[in-house]
């Protein structure tokens, strides 16, 4: 089945140690998104790629970076994780080739713990 896959499901990293979360998709969607979801809060958009164009949200800290080497893969890099970065990170895709307002397809998320 076509899907969005996030690896790993659980990630533990040390305070200040760079960490990379990955997302892959088999849907051939042209837009990929990264959301941060903290406990009891709404998912918050960090950035997204529209094809190769990177779009950063104004309030996303510089500590968060992203790479999209091809259509299928997108990475979230946290350069120096702090305790406040512990959260669930959600990857999602959408296709603007099929029209607007189609909604997202989400991955299962990566839960990041910072120790």
């Amino acid at each position: 089945d076509a899907m969005v896959i996030q690896n790993p499901r659980y990630q533990v990293t040390q305070f200040g140690k760079p960490v990379t979360l990955s997302c892959s998709q088999t849907l051939n969607h042209n837009v990929m998104y990264w959301y941060q979801q903290k406990s009891s809060q709404a998912p918050k958009l960090l950035f997204h790629y529209y094809d190769k164009d990177f779009n950063n949200e104004a309030d996303t800290p510089d500590n968060f970076q992203s790479r999209r080497p091809n259509t299928s893969f997108c990475f979230l890099d946290i350069r120096s994780p702090g305790l406040g970065d512990a959260a669930m990170y959600l990857c999602a895709t959408s296709s603007l080739r099929t029209g607007t307002g189609g909604g997202y397809t989400f991955g299962s998320g990566t839960r990041l713990t910072v120790v």
């Binding site: 969005v4 837009v31 998104y33 009891s40 809060q41 709404a42 998912p43 958009l45 997204h48 529209y50 164009d53 779009n55 959600l90 999602a92 959408s94 603007l96 607007t100 307002g101 909604g103 997202y104 989400f106 991955g107 299962s108 998320g109």
Partner: protein
């Protein structure tokens, strides 16, 4: 900026009964989309139902239906014949079409629904 408010942090319902989850939003846009997403424990978020603002008819998907009141900016979700598998966090979300070449979802804080046997 758009905001989405879900005023019920937690709700519970007995199996086979009906429950309604509330959502209000704030926007100055006339054309937009509204969604309900379901996030079961430790599982991925999936789309439950979608409503286009220019359509007056309320969307329905099997046991799930919405009450869309555009003037009141209200978008509630009704789950009929609740099942144990409906236990999940439910997020209401707003989307403007094609802003800057992409579409961004704005989520509410979610309502945790528990279906009791």
């Amino acid at each position: 900026a758009q905001t989405v408010t879900q005023s019920q942090p937690e709700m519970s319902v007995q199996e086979a009964e009906t429950v309604t989850l509330s959502c209000t939003y704030d926007t100055s846009e006339n054309n937009y989309y509204l969604f309900w997403y379901k996030q079961p424990p430790s599982r991925q978020m999936i789309l439950v139902i979608r409503q286009e603002a220019y359509k007056q008819q309320n969307a329905t998907e099997n046991r799930f239906s919405v009450n869309f009141q555009k003037a009141a900016k209200s978008f509630s979700l009704k789950i009929s014949d609740s099942q144990l598998g409906d236990t999940a966090m439910y997020f209401c979300a707003f989307m403007k079409p094609r802003e800057g070449g992409s579409e961004k979802l704005v989520f509410g804080k979610g309502t945790k629904l528990t279906v009791n046997p």
